[in-house]
């Protein structure tokens, strides 16, 4: 029930989705969201470096997952988030939700993503030939929280 993993090593989101699905009972709707390292607008991204606050990360994510479980009476949910150096095309993180009906599965996954963006202690840095630059937080990400 309710898994949260913070890890350096790569993961296979499809395998994780399969494991998650096989562990849930009485679930009519299953949603997964996967965030993937995408090239920047200039097209010269070499890698993404993700820093985090180890002691805090796990509990922040568990708090978000716990809120989602309760608010939408989920059957189960999962959060995986990587840190360290990630190559183009690699999964950064995923969330999965299982619920009796689709509205709860969608809304809870959306909620977890919004909170994870602005309330979990991760910081992204884009590495290019020209150097490395911290990704700026977007005002829209903070504003998205007012939806819930």
């Amino acid at each position: 029930m309710m898994q949260v993993r913070v890890q350096n090593v790569a993961f296979d989101f499809a395998q994780e989705a399969k494991n998650f699905a096989s562990s849930v009972q009485d679930c009519g709707a299953l949603v997964t969201f996967t965030g993937i390292v995408r090239n920047n607008d200039a097209g010269d991204l070499l890698a993404l470096e993700i820093e985090h606050y180890p002691v805090m990360t796990q509990s922040a994510l568990e708090n978000i997952a716990g809120q989602a479980m309760e608010k939408w009476s989920l059957v189960d949910c999962l959060i995986i988030h990587r840190f360290g150096r990630l190559a183009l095309g690699e999964p950064i993180m995923m969330v999965a939700t299982a619920a009796p009906h689709r509205a709860a599965a969608f809304a809870s996954a959306d909620f977890m993503m919004d909170y994870l963006k602005s309330r979990a202690p991760f910081w992204k840095k884009e590495v290019t030939d020209a150097g490395a630059e911290w990704v700026a937080a977007k005002d829209s990400d903070e504003q998205a929280l007012s939806r819930w």
Binding site: E51, Y53, M56, S59, A120, P121, W134, V135
Partner: protein
């Protein structure tokens, strides 16, 4: 009291972690003490509206009291997900 810095704040201060003896009552008081230490701190903490703080691994506000707190972490707005 242990103080942690992350992301560009860590880079600007040139330090990930330090132990500080402080009599500050609130986070804001602590920030004032830190700014007085060194121009790097002064620059890094120039605009606290662009910073976030966690007290003992929980997000907090700059006006919050820090009595009894063991770990204060300062960092820019988070960009996970």
């Amino acid at each position: 009291m242990q103080i942690l810095y992350f992301a560009w704040l860590r880079e600007r201060i040139g330090l990930a972690e330090e132990t500080v003896a402080s009599s500050a009552e609130t986070v804001q008081d602590l920030v004032s003490e830190l700014r007085a230490k060194d121009p790097r701190y002064e620059a890094a903490f120039a605009d606290t509206s662009s910073l976030r703080v966690a007290l003992d691994q929980r997000l907090a506000h700059f006006g919050d009291p820090i009595a009894g707190v063991r770990e204060v972490a300062f960092f820019p707005p988070m960009t996970g997900g």
